[in-house]
Symmetry: C2
Subunit: 406 residues, 2 copies
C-alpha cells in the first residue's frame, strides 16, 4: 500500500473548496479570522470533541447538526472562542443560518467551530458582513486561506494531504490544523478539519476517527491543559467513486492507514509548533506488557514539565524520564527499563535496567541540540508499543502565557 503526499490540503479531495478572510472578529485587519470548507455534495461526517466539561458553544451546535451523520460545510472563526458567553449558542446557530442561506443549504448541514479568547461577548455583525465574501471566494485553491483563518499565533500553517488507492480508484485525503500558540493568551485549542473523497459510510467514518484519535490526537500534549474547544471533524463526500466502505476489512484498513498518516503528521506539526516550543519531542515506548501501559508511560513522559525543561536545555537528565514513568501509575518493572535519546545526530543509551550507565555528555548534548528528539523507552516487559508527542518547555511558553491579555 503506497501513499503519495500531494498538494491541496482540505481541497485535495474531489469536490471540496475552501476560503478564508478577515471579517472583523480580530482587530488586526491583516489577520484572517473566518474560514470555510465546502463540499459540492453532502458528505458523511464524523467528529470527536474535547472531554472538558466547559465546552465551547459551537461544539454543542455542531453535535446536534451532525447527529444524522451528514454535513456539507465547516465554518470556523478565530479571535474569540465563543465559550462561557451567555449568548454563545445563539451566535453559533445564527452563524450557521447565515451561511446556510448563502450556500443554499440547511443550517443542520453545517459544522461550526471557534477558537480564541474565552468568556468574551461575541457579536454576529462580522459574520453577517463577512459570509457573502467568504462564500464568493470559495475555490479549490483556497486551502492556504482557510488554514490562515483558523490560526491564532501558530507560527506555521499546518496542512497535509495524500492520495491512496481503494479498489483501483484513486482517493484523496487532506487536513488542516490549528495548534496552540497565541498572543492574547487564551485556551490552547486544537482544531482539525479533514476532508476526503473516499466513499465511506458515516458509521464507519466515525469508527475510523474514534479509533484513530486514541493513537494520534489523544497522545498529544503541549501543556497538559485540555482545551474547552478541541474538535476534530472528517468529511467524506464519496466523489472518488470507490465502492462505499460499509464494514471492516481490507479497504477499511487502507482508509484507516491513510487517515492515521494525516493525523500523526498533524500531531507532529502541532507539537513542534506548541507554545514557545523549540523542539518536537516524541516518546516512543516499546515492549510494554499492555497497550494501556505503553500509552500511559508515553503520555506521562511527554507531559513532565521537568523532562520538557531538560529537553529545552539539551540536558540528558534521564532521571526525570524515569521519575515520570514511576509516577504514571502504569505497572512497570523499573529495574528492566532502558532509556535512549535519539535524534538525526544519532542515539545514546543513558539508562540500562533502571540505573545509569556511563555515557558521553558531549555526544548526548550534540544529539539533544537537534529540533526533533525521540525519548526511546524500552520496558522489556511485553510486546506492546505506543508513541506520544509534545514539545519542550521554554521561556517563550511562560512569556506567551504570562503576558497581560490587555
Amino acid at each position: 500500500m503506497e501513499f503519495k503526499i500531494i498538494e491541496g490540503g482540505v481541497c485535495a479531495a474531489k469536490g471540496f473548496k475552501a476560503n478564508g478572510i478577515h471579517c472583523g472578529i480580530r482587530k488586526n485587519k491583516t489577520k484572517k479570522d473566518l474560514s470555510l470548507i465546502y463540499s459540492e455534495v453532502p458528505a458523511c461526517t464524523a467528529a470527536v470533541y474535547t472531554t472538558n466539561l466547559v465546552k465551547g458553544a459551537p461544539l454543542t451546535v455542531t453535535k446536534n447538526h451532525i447527529a444524522n451523520g451528514y454535513a456539507q460545510a465547516v465554518i470556523c472563526n478565530s479571535g474569540n472562542a465563543n465559550t462561557c458567553n451567555a449568548n454563545g449558542i445563539q451566535i453559533a446557530e445564527e452563524t450557521c443560518e447565515l451561511l446556510a442561506s448563502e450556500l443554499g443549504l440547511k443550517a443542520e448541514d453545517i459544522v461550526v467551530a471557534s477558537t480564541g479568547v474565552i468568556g468574551q461577548q461575541m457579536d454576529i455583525t462580522p459574520f453577517k458582513n463577512g459570509i457573502p465574501e467568504l462564500v464568493k471566494g470559495l475555490s479549490t485553491e483556497g486551502n492556504q486561506a482557510a488554514v490562515e483563518g483558523i490560526m491564532t499565533t501558530d507560527t506555521k500553517p499546518k496542512s497535509i494531504s495524500l492520495s491512496f488507492e481503494i479498489d483501483g480508484k484513486e482517493c484523496k485525503i487532506g487536513g488542516i490544523a490549528k495548534g496552540s500558540g497565541m498572543i492574547h493568551p487564551n485556551m490552547a485549542t486544537m482544531l482539525v478539519f479533514i476532508t476526503t473523497d473516499c466513499a465511506i459510510s458515516s458509521k464507519m467514518l466515525q469508527k475510523a476517527l474514534s479509533t484513530d484519535v486514541k493513537s494520534s490526537f489523544n497522545m498529544l500534549s503541549v501543556d497538559g491543559d485540555t482545551s474547552t474547544n478541541d474538535c476534530v471533524t472528517v468529511m467524506a463526500n464519496g466523489l472518488a467513486g470507490n465502492q462505499v466502505i460499509c464494514e471492516e476489512g481490507k479497504n477499511f484498513d487502507i482508509f484507516m492507514k491513510a487517515l492515521n498518516t494525516i493525523t500523526v503528521s498533524l500531531c507532529k506539526m502541532i507539537a513542534g509548533d506548541g507554545e514557545g516550543a523549540t523542539k518536537l519531542l516524541e516518546c516512543k515506548v516499546s515492549n510494554a506488557k499492555t497497550l494501556e501501559i505503553a500509552k500511559t508511560v508515553a503520555k506521562s513522559v511527554i507531559c513532565s514539565s521537568l523532562t520538557k525543561a531538560a529537553m529545552f536545555g539539551a540536558d540528558a537528565n534521564w532521571g526525570r524520564v524515569l521519575c515520570a514513568i514511576g509516577y504514571s501509575k502504569a505497572m512497570v518493572d523499573v529495574n528492566k527499563i532502558d532509556v535512549k535519546f535519539v535524534s538525526p545526530k544519532g542515539e545514546i543509551l543513558v539508562c540500562k535496567n533502571g540505573a545509569g550507565v556511563d555515557f558521553s555528555e558531549e555526544k548526548a548534548k550534540e544529539i539533544l541540540l537537534e529540533t526533533e528528539i525521540t525519548i526511546d523507552v524500552d520496558l522489556k516487559d511485553g510486546e506492546f508499543a505506543s508513541k506520544a508527542w509534545g514539545c519542550d518547555l521554554t521561556y517563550d511558553y511562560v512569556k506567551i502565557n504570562g503576558d497581560y491579555r490587555t
Copy 2:
C-alpha cells in the same frame, strides 16, 4: 484551643537535638549537606512516602527500620538522591550503622533520607568522615543547621514550631522542610521531618499523619512531577508527660489540629518557594457536592500550567481557571461556578455562574501583583471545601530546569 508559635523548629519539643554540617557530598564547602535530628529517648514514629514506583533507596531502608513504630534519630543528606544507584540500599544501610554506632543505638532505630541528583553513584566516605562531628555537635540550638543541611536550592529555610496543651500539660511540635529548587536540576524532592514531645501511640501517630497529608502535602504541587524521594516523618517522644493518646477523642483532635497547623504552614512555605516561584498560589474551593470534588477541583486549578503562567503575569485570565475545572473530571455544574481573585489588596469577582462579568482590569492587576494570591472557586453545589497550594510558572522555573547538569 490555642496554639502559640514558638522558636526552635525540630528542637522545640523536649528531648530533641539537631545538627547539620558539610561532610563532602557536595563540592561546595560552604553548603551543609548532612543533617541529624536526635531524640534522647525512643520516639513513636510515623511516615508517609512518595507513591512514585521509582523510589530512593533510603525510603526502602527507612520503611523497614520503622516497621516496629519506633525510631530515635533521622539522618538526611543533600547533594545526591541515592536513587537509581546499584549500591543505594547498601549505602543507606551503612549510613545507619555508622550513625547507630556513634550514637549507641541500633541501626533499626534510624530514619534515613536523601535528596539531590538521581542516578549518581554514591560514596560512603563523606558519611564516615562526617558522622562523628555531626553527632558531637548535636544541640537543642541545632535547628537552623539541620534545616540548612537538607536544603538544595531552596531560597529560604523552612521551619515552624508551636505549643499546645493536652490535659493541662504543655506539648510542643515543630518541623522542618526542604522544598523544590535546585541549581543542578534533579527531582523536586520534598522532605519533611516533624518532632513532638506529645505522648501518642505509634498507631495513632500514623493515623494522624496519614489523615493529615490528605489535606496538606497531598494538596501541594510545584510542577506536577511527583518526586522519587518524597517523605514525611513524625517522631513523638512522649516527654511532655501528657497521658498517652491511644484512641480518637478530644486529645487526638487537639493533636491533629496542631499537626495540621505545622503541615499547612510548611506546605505554604514549600509552594511559595517553589522552583522559580514569585508567588504563592492557594486555590480555595467551597460548596462542593463532595469532599473529593472539592479536592479534585482545587488540585486541577493549582496544577494548570496556563493558570500558573497567567498568575506570573498578574493576568486575570479566569477562563483558564474554568478550563482547569472543566478537565478535572470532577462532576460540577459549570453554570453555577463563581470565581474570585483575592490578595491582601482586596478581592475581585471575575466570573459568575460560569460566565464572565464586567470587572476593572486595573483593580484585578493590583490584586494579582501581590505575592500571595487566592483563587477562590465557589461551586454553589453543596457544602464541602478544600484548599490546594502551588506557585506561579516563571522564566526562572525554565531556567533552573533547563540548565545543563554538567
